[in-house]
């Protein structure tokens, strides 16, 4: 059985700021990042959907420690965002000094952009990752 969205296609779309997910036709759950099955009911009756890329920050951490070869990215803020369609997704946060983020970040509305991690000797190639930035509340009212 083949994946409906493999990483290669997800990555290609994210590089155009498009976020691909899978909507379950049985239970309605949206799965993103994509998996083989629905992350709630394990069903395979899903269709590929493009998500809004908007959501709210659920938690964060600003890292001063990174892996071999990535020291130049520090400090970096990692966020977990709940997308408006339901799923949680990990990304980075732009437009904010990583050293200044605090608990007030939780609940902030954000929208999707991206940046490409060029890869390292173990990663089997590049990977785009979501980079979020603040959006005005009014956009979604």
């Amino acid at each position: 059985m083949e994946y409906k969205v493999i990483f290669k296609d997800y990555n290609k779309a994210l590089k155009r700021n498009k976020l691909l997910g899978l909507k379950c036709n049985d239970c309605g759950t949206v799965t993103c990042p994509p998996m083989m099955v629905c992350q709630e009911c394990a069903g395979t009756n899903q269709e590929v959907v493009e998500l809004s890329g908007k959501g709210q920050v659920l938690t964060f951490t600003t890292s001063y420690l990174n892996s071999e070869g990535r020291e130049n990215e520090l400090p970096i803020t990692i966020v977990m965002v709940q997308l408006d369609e339901g799923p949680w997704i990990m990304g980075n946060l732009d437009d904010v000094d990583p050293k200044r983020v605090n608990m007030k970040l939780i609940g902030k509305r954000v929208g999707l952009g991206h940046r490409v991690f060029p890869g390292d000797r173990y990663s089997a190639g590049e990977a785009a990752r979501p980079v979020f930035s603040y959006i005005e509340q009014i956009e979604n009212v």
Binding site: N66, S67, S123
Partner: protein, 391 residues
Amino acid sequence: MRRVVVLGGGHSKFCFNSPKTSVEMLSEVAMDAIRESSLEARDIQAINVGNVLGDFAEGQGMVQSFFANDIGCFNVPATRFEGACASGSIALRDAFIWVASGYYDIVLVGGVERATAMGTALATRTFAMFGDSRYEFPTGFTFPAAFGLLAHLYAHRYRIPLERLKEQMAAVSVQSHEYAMKNPHAQIHKQLSKEEVLKSFMVTTPIQLHDACPFSDGAAAVVLASEEVAKKLTNQPVYISGIGQTSSGKLSSQYQYLPRLRARELAAEQAYRMAGLTPQDIDVCELHDCFSIAAIIAAEGLGLFEFGTAGEAWERGETRLGGKIPINMSGGLKAKGHPIGATGVSQAYELTRQLRGQLVEQGRQVDEAKHALMDTLGGDGVLVSIIFSAA
């Protein structure tokens, strides 16, 4: 299913920059375990080994076969288990199943790691391999970062001001250092104050250096035997009375359940049900405190404290010797050290000694402990609970 006994054990001093190779560390503790069991190498029918990063640390894969040969377990089937920081625990659980099933009577379980040979940057990179490499690592995600995310989520979910949670987290580290002082195998023998924790280097908010376990080298081993065989060899049998193991996916896929780890709760449930016990029956616990917040989350997931309250329990001393449920009397991963392939086997070694009452002289014996629980977390995704019982 047959009852299974933990016989002898062996444990190296956990350390930084071991002068010994993984094969050497593992061989030494394995021989100690075999001798303490009143057995010879030729009595061992199979070997299970937890080892995670030998390939990166020493250019040494397949450590299990080379060490088996070194100790005279010639041509014995030896298998390596990889489940990140829970590798030793899944090796142990699997060995239990083989003996319980009747296929083998005597199985040696070992674990070894020599992570500090990699240096901090490569060690951090390789440890990050136990998160999702495609969808999460590109953000700069590492294991400390996972628990940074969970700590802020925990503070928000349970409405604990971050400054308060930080104090509770510090209490976890301070206690671990205190008991490690009494454990001759511990990597760190140094008192730690709350102030020192809160002043230490910020690794990834809100995790500071002293909220985190060190990189470690070390090894541990135990011998498992059927009850029938064990009765001839020991008059102090310690039984494995319950086992549980589960897996989970990348952090984001565990979504609404976080900061709780559903997989841990299910693994613990399996172990409690099999042993016919509840969390209230547990007398002593070794749990996976790779970070101070991880200890708090684990204690709650295992049912030892209500959700959102374990940090206070540490502050009140309920996790100390003589407290409601003594936790990590070994010094835990934080101060005993965390050689990841060996950690689960080390926990089993420790709890076996607690149940035999052998830690009185070290000043960290839990009085009349009957049931002991171990909990190990490997990466995003391997959870093991094992219960040991004195009868």
